[in-house]
Symmetry: C2
Subunit: 217 residues, 2 copies
DNA sequence: TTTTAGTGAGTGAACACTCACTTATAATAT
DNA sequence: ATATTATAAGTGAGTGTTCACTCACTAAAA
C-alpha cells in the first residue's frame, strides 16, 4: 500500500515518535495553521484551541514556538520526503521503461498529483524555504539520493539508447521539476479550484519530451 | 538610458510621488527590512531607526504597517514591473529577430541578469505572493500585456516561419519563465555567491530551444 | 497666522511563555 | 488484588515584554 498523501506519511512518522496523543495533536494542528496563516501569524493559543488542549500542554513538550516548527519540518525532511521519494521510485521500477515519452509522462502525472493532493503542506515548506536556505540544501540531498537510485539506471539506459540527451541527470531533473512547478505552484498559490490535470500533464509532457529527447545527428 | 536595477526603478517611482524626503526614506528602509527579515519580523521601530525618523513620522503618512507594504508593492506591480517589461520590450525590438535561438538566448540572458541584480526585491515579492494570491493575478496581467505588445508580433513571425511551435503565447512564456526561475530561484534562496551566468544561460537556452522549436514533419 | 510635517514618550492589546496546581499513569509495597 | 507512592501529563490563570499605533506638542513651511 502506497501513501500518496503527505498527511498519512506525516501521521505515520508521528506514530513512530514517542509523543503522547495530545502532543501529536499539537503538531497536527500546528501544521494546519502554519499552512493556512503562516508561522508568524499563528498564535500558540490558536494551536492549543485547534488541538483541543491547554496552552500549557503545548509548552510541556516544546519549549518554544520555533521548536514546534522544527519538530514539523524535521520529519518532513528526514522521513516524509525520503518516504515519498521511495514510493515514487517503487512505482517507477514497477513499470517497465518502455520509452522516454512514457517515462516523462509518468513522472509529470505522478508529481502533479502529488503536488495537488498536498497543497497545504507544500505551502508551509515553500514559506520556510524562503528564510531558511538550509532546508533547500537538505531537500537537494533528497533529490540526489533519488537520482542515485533506480532513476539513475533508467536514465542511463535511455541515454545509451540515444533517446535521452546526454546531459547530467541533475540538469535533466532540474528541467523536469521546473516545468512541473511552473504548473503546480500557480495552482497552489491562487488557488485554482479545478485544475485540468490531463491537459496540464499533456502540455508539460509534450514540452519536456521535445526538450529532452535526443535529436538524430 | 535603461534602468536594469529595480532599486533605481523604485526610486524613480518614489520621485514621481508627492511624498516628503522622510516618507520616501521610510519606504526605502521598509523595503530593505522586509527583504531581509520578512514583513512580520520587521517592527515599525526598526523602520523608523533605519530611516532615521521618529516612529510618529512613520505613522503620519501610513496609517498601518500593512499600508507601508501596500505602498511598496503597488508601484512594484503597477510601475516597476511594467517599466521593466517596457525596457525589456524596447531592447527586444531594438534588435532584429534573427532566429528563435537568438530570441530565446536574449530573453534568458536578460531575465537571469534582471533576477540576479534584484535578488532582495524579488524575495519580498515571492514572500508576499505566497499569502496574497491577488498579487500573482496582477502579475499575470502584466505578463499578458507584454505578450500583447511587440512580443506578440515576434512570436507570430517565428511561428509563421515554422521555427516556433504553434502553441499559445501564454504557454510558451510559461515554459520560458519556469525554466529561468528553475535556475534563478535557488540562487536567490541559498544564496549562491558566484553563479556562472554564462553556463546557466547556455543550459537554459539549449533546453528551451529544443523544447520550443518546430520539428520538421 | 494657518496648515502641514515631524517628534517621542506613552498606551492598550496581544503574544510567547511560566508556574502552582490537578489529574492520570505507572511502579512498588502490603 | 489493593493501597501507597512516585512520576509524568495536563491545566489555565497569570506575567513580562514586545509591538503597532496614538497624541499632545514642537518645528517648519506656506
Amino acid at each position: 500500500m502506497t501513501l500518496k498523501n503527505i498527511d498519512q506519511l506525516f501521521q505515520a512518522s508521528l506514530a513512530q515518535s514517542d509523543l503522547s496523543a495530545k502532543q501529536k495533536a499539537v503538531l497536527q494542528a500546528s501544521l494546519m495553521l502554519f499552512a493556512e496563516k503562516g508561522f508568524e501569524r499563528t498564535t500558540t493559543r490558536d494551536i492549543a484551541t485547534l488541538a483541543q488542549v491547554s496552552e500549557g500542554t503545548v509548552y510541556k513538550q516544546f519549549k518554544t514556538k520555533q521548536q514546534i516548527l522544527d519538530a514539523i519540518l524535521q520529519p518532513f525532511i528526514t522521513q516524509v520526503f525520503p518516504q515519498a521519494a521511495n514510493e515514487f521510485i517503487a512505482e517507477l521500477t514497477a513499470r517497465p521503461v518502455t520509452s522516454l515519452h512514457a517515462f516523462i509522462q509518468f513522472i509529470v502525472y505522478d508529481r502533479i498529483n502529488f503536488g495537488l493532493t498536498n497543497q497545504k503542506q507544500l505551502k508551509v515548506l515553500v514559506q520556510q524555504l524562503l528564510d531558511n536556505g538550509r532546508l533547500l540544501a537538505e531537500l537537494g540531498r533528497v533529490f540526489d539520493k533519488v537520482l542515485q537510485g533506480p532513476v539513475k539506471s533508467i536514465l542511463d539506459q535511455l541515454q545509451r539508447q540515444g533517446e535521452l540527451v546526454n546531459w547530467s541527470h541533475a540538469r535533466i531533473f532540474r528541467h523536469i521539476i521546473s516545468t512541473v512547478l511552473g504548473y503546480v505552484l500557480p495552482i497552489i498559490i491562487l488557488p485554482i479550484a479545478d485544475p485540468d490535470v490531463e491537459k496540464i500533464t499533456a502540455e508539460a509532457t509534450e514540452f519536456l519530451y521535445a526538450g529532452l529527447h535526443q535529436k538524430k545527428a
